[in-house]
Symmetry: C3
Subunit: 116 residues, 3 copies
């Protein structure tokens, strides 16, 4: 049986779940949705740093990311912040697609799978 | 080499695949697509219970879920059923986004990764 | 600590990342986007074969696939190529949804998780 550890469980989701040597983060949106796409991405990546640390991991162990942008034109500003953030010696796999998000003010959402 | 076990393989997908201590379910839509979003969600979560059991897991070991709704307004009725279903002591990570689904009558699709 | 191995790291993503007995591929689009949906799918699945081989895996060990089509009507031609490609004795789990992709000429994008 695989050991499972859950961090910040809320009503509908837990922000990070450890299982099988991997950490699965919930899709993160920016805490302050009044920011533009670059600003929201910065906030999201800060949250991801915080959640990975909670689970004993960090961005150098990021394995895969799924990135949703509410308009595909936000891919460019998101990418600029993304490239500054990722560990250039430890680049994750990634998919980036357009999708309407839960809150209409949310322009970016990112879910990460990392190793421990 | 990781041991892989496949359940209910069909022409284009298997409904559940075990690998590396995890179980990956195919995205599930409701068997009866005439139901509303809440009703479809109920059917989907019943299917997910059934498939997790096939793979020797259950919802208390759910690690991560991806939920697609065909209109983001269906997130609320889906969430009501979701909250009743999930094990409140074992909440999974989650992302919920809008996407057009294979069948135009499908309002909700859910894919789950669980531990064993 | 889980051992992580990264293949073809580029500026924003690595094409394949091994961790915990699994291989996570980046979402693949066709190298030649002038092809139709079936042709793009064929190119993508060739790329996936190549990347899985790089990571010491192959399609018979595919665990799960996420397939995005830019118009849900492309699901049928994609499926025809998909069914020819997958190992009928080793069918993966799968979800297929519509999403606008990074390049407007991209009609299909596929991300695969495989075991090793």
């Amino acid at each position: 049986m695989t050991d499972i550890k859950r961090h910040e469980p809320k009503k509908i989701l837990a922000n990070a779940v450890e299982a099988g040597g991997l950490v699965f983060l919930a899709g993160q949106c920016a805490p302050d949705l009044s920011a533009d796409a670059a600003g929201q991405t910065r906030q999201i990546l800060d949250e991801i740093d915080r959640l990975l640390a909670l689970a004993g991991s960090d961005k150098s162990k990021a394995v895969s990311a799924t990135i949703w942008v509410s308009d595909i034109r936000y891919r460019d500003p998101m990418n600029e912040v993304w490239v500054e953030w990722i560990d250039s010696a430890n680049i994750p796999a990634r998919a980036c697609i357009e999708a309407k998000l839960a809150d209409p003010r949310a322009l970016v959402e990112i879910a990460v799978i990392a190793a421990k």
